[in-house]
């Protein structure tokens, strides 16, 4: 296996009640790269993603089997506290979900929860994260305004900034652009390019163009199985599997 992998899964099976949503998924996510997961809707992309920061723990009917490791530590083992894990493995959701608080409070929420109280430090974190999320110039004059008043695209970048503010190691993004218009989408895509230098990014997308544009590696999923994974260029130009070929050429999905 790839030695620089941040997260690796080994034969993961997952059920919601009696419904198997993931079947024998083995994939690794190399450090400081962008990996995208593509596939028709309902194939288990979000489910796989939510395994990686244990958000699935919150779903009562969910049962998981197989190994997932984070820097070599068993993610579901007794050594890992899901709360601390989620600080390292951040997540951006499909629909922007800022808290009904001010922009400033949204960003400082995470750091504060992790014990940072110093105002100077917090202000610094706010500016830094907003800059990284390419939102600083748009909101620097109204940090105390409610986040609910931002546009959808701005809200999503705020959610990215909020995630960056806790200084994670991995960022999971679940169709972060699906609720956004093309201009906002473009902004977030160029942002991802920047993020790659510091973070390991895993993005779920239903847009093949997006996957092709932004990611280094791509995994194609179908009905709960990981059909094929590899360098993005290879998946899109010369896939090994017939199914992958059909999907990327638009024959289904």
């Amino acid at each position: 296996m790839d030695t620089s992998a941040v997260i690796e899964t080994q034969g993961v099976n997952l059920w919601y009640g009696d419904n198997q949503a993931l079947t024998n998924v083995t994939i690794s996510f190399p450090e400081k790269t962008i990996t995208s997961l593509i596939g028709p809707s309902g194939c288990g992309k979000s489910t796989l993603l939510r395994c990686l920061n244990r958000m699935n723990d919150l779903i009562p009917s969910c049962r998981i089997e197989g190994g997932i490791s984070y820097h070599g530590t068993d993610l579901y083992g007794p050594a890992i506290d899901p709360v601390h894990l989620r600080k390292q493995v951040g997540m951006v959701f499909q629909r922007p979900n800022p808290f009904p608080k001010s922009i400033y409070d949204n960003i400082t929420y995470g750091p504060r929860m992790h014990g940072i109280r110093d105002r100077k430090t917090l202000e610094q974190i706010v500016e830094e994260s907003l800059r990284k999320a390419a939102l600083w110039d748009e909101v620097k004059d109204r940090l105390s305004a409610s986040a609910m008043g931002l546009s959808g695209g701005q809200q999503q970048r705020l959610c990215i900034a909020r995630t960056l503010a806790v200084n994670p190691d991995v960022i999971l993004m679940d169709e972060p652009c699906s609720a956004l218009d093309p201009i906002a989408t473009a902004k977030i895509e160029s942002l991802m390019e920047e993020l790659k230098s510091q973070y390991t990014v895993i993005i779920v997308t239903h847009s093949m163009q997006q996957a092709a544009r932004v990611s280094d590696y791509t995994g194609f999923m179908y009905m709960g199985e990981l059909i094929e994974t590899g360098e993005t260029a290879k998946i899109f130009e010369n896939p090994e599997k017939e199914l992958t070929n059909n999907y990327i050429t638009g024959r289904f999905g």
């Binding site: 958000m55 709360v83 600080k87 800022p98 929860m113 992790h114 909020r162 190691d169």
Partner: protein, 652 residues
Amino acid sequence: MENEHVVNDTPAVSAELFSGRSSYLKERFIRSVWFMTAVFGVLTVFFILAFLVIDGIPIFATVSPVEFLFGTTWNPTGAIPAYGTLPLWIGTVLVTIGAMVIAAPLGIACAIVIAELASPRLKAVFKPATELLAGIPSVVYGFFGLIVLTDFIRVNFDIPTGETWLAGSVLLGIMALPTIISVSEDAISAVPKEYREGSLALGTTRWQTISQVIVPSALSGITAALILGIGRAVGETMAVLMVTGNAAIIPDPIYNVLSPIRTLTGTLGIEMGETAIGSAHYHALFGVALLLLLITLAVNLSATVILGHIHAKQTGSGKGPGRLSALLARYQQNLKIAAVAFILLLVAFFVSPLVALVFALIGAALWYIPSHIQPRHQQNIAFSLLYVAIAVVLAALAIILGYIVINGLPAINWEFLTTAPRALGREGGIFPAIIGTLYLVTGAIAIALPIGVGAAIYLIEYTRENILTKLIRTGVDLLNGTPSIVFGLFGFSFLVLYLNLGISLIAGQITLALMVLPTVIRTTEEALRSVPTSFREGSLALGATQWQTISRVVIPPAIPGIITGAILSIGRAAGETAPIMFTAVVFSSRYLPSSLSDPVMALPYHLYILATNVPGAETNQYGTALVLITMVVGIYLVAIAVRTHYQKSIRW
């Protein structure tokens, strides 16, 4: 410190991941605190049942259960005491039937108007107005009934006294309306818009859509509303007690609505204060309370089951239409005919065949005519009737409020509000009663709010649905349906006697707290549920702990809902008489309570005694009623205002 961790350094990473143990313990601790508050509700129900049973069982040493249930004489203080509760529970059943005959059509009609017909502006008037009906304390209803309604009945029917079954039913009917209206309205509003559009798109009138599609779809919700209304009527004490005459007889003939009557609750309200502790009479009264509790439990459980089915259907977790409703639908026509025939037979048998014939003819006409008028005219007639119904309800509200305000205003002056009563309350003021009520309410909410909010947090935020949560929820439902007089008896038996608190402020506060606990839990649950899951996910995904998430992200937007619930509880506690009658109050006290173990005066009880036991206190009766109603209605208006304000400003 944030920037210290090194991505590639595996041991460091695990060390940091591992370091969450102390916060883990804290989380566990917080969780168990909320768990204990949640269990409190179940325990209370259990305790209430246990104490009623313990104090009620000894009566069966004196009479057999069969005699207790079916004996036709209730005369515990006679030379030869008799403990037959038949006239009492028959009385409860009859008064309730009468109340539902009035409240069911009016309530459903009002719900249809509010949910389907009224413009938003009218709705903004109708809805709070019908909710205000729930805000009028029952002792004020009783007072109004005693002064106005019974007199009206006496004069119009030319009978010696107006204190009758009819008076009780009218009053209870009005009191059951708010419950019926709000639950039915919820059910009607929950009918998917597609049904409405689908029907209208076929060229039907609005009335056809309402009567053929919407109301049938909401039928089980409306049924639950009616059952809850019945529960409300069965459990009411003060109002019935003040207007039904309280003769423990079975009306003769059985449909004689002008006969006096006595209910289970009335019996408790009247006799509990006058019996020797530990006597057969005392135990008999606990037997009565037990019977009452079992009836209301059965009534409320069936409503809960029905509402649960609806919820399951709406969330798609149900198993399709229930077998019962499928059967009902299949034999609807036959069932209707059978029911009509049965009623006609009853009437023919008990009243006279002639009356039955007249009924049958009117019925046939009503059956025949609608299908022969144009749909448009049908609609006009139907809508007019519906608006008449809501006008009747609003008129009742206006008359009650107006009457008390007009007669009460002259009594209000500075002296009345700031001095103690003199001459048994005929003169002087009501200051100690105002203060007593404030003390009672403050204490009650101080106890109920933390426990209730904690329980709701546990139920919504911490648990997956399982047997335990079901048990807790059922406990809360049962507590919610427990008649207030039963809380009073429990408070007396457990707090006053068993814990030896005596008739005291603290005993009253705890009793009231138990009574409002379900309201606090439910409104808080609803408020928490309305906070989107995405907020929780967003926070957890940032590595916040569960308690951090709840306290920083979930609770703040839920605060208005929680406050509304608290205010409603305060209003309810301020107006109740039955729970404090045997636990906390005295009629006359020159002094304010100096500690929690002193008894207090309270406005509702003061009004009750003035109205029933003190001749010649007219002015001060109205004055007390007005102050009480102003306080309670004022509190409710604040709650309604808070709710509307935040409903408008919520933006997610």
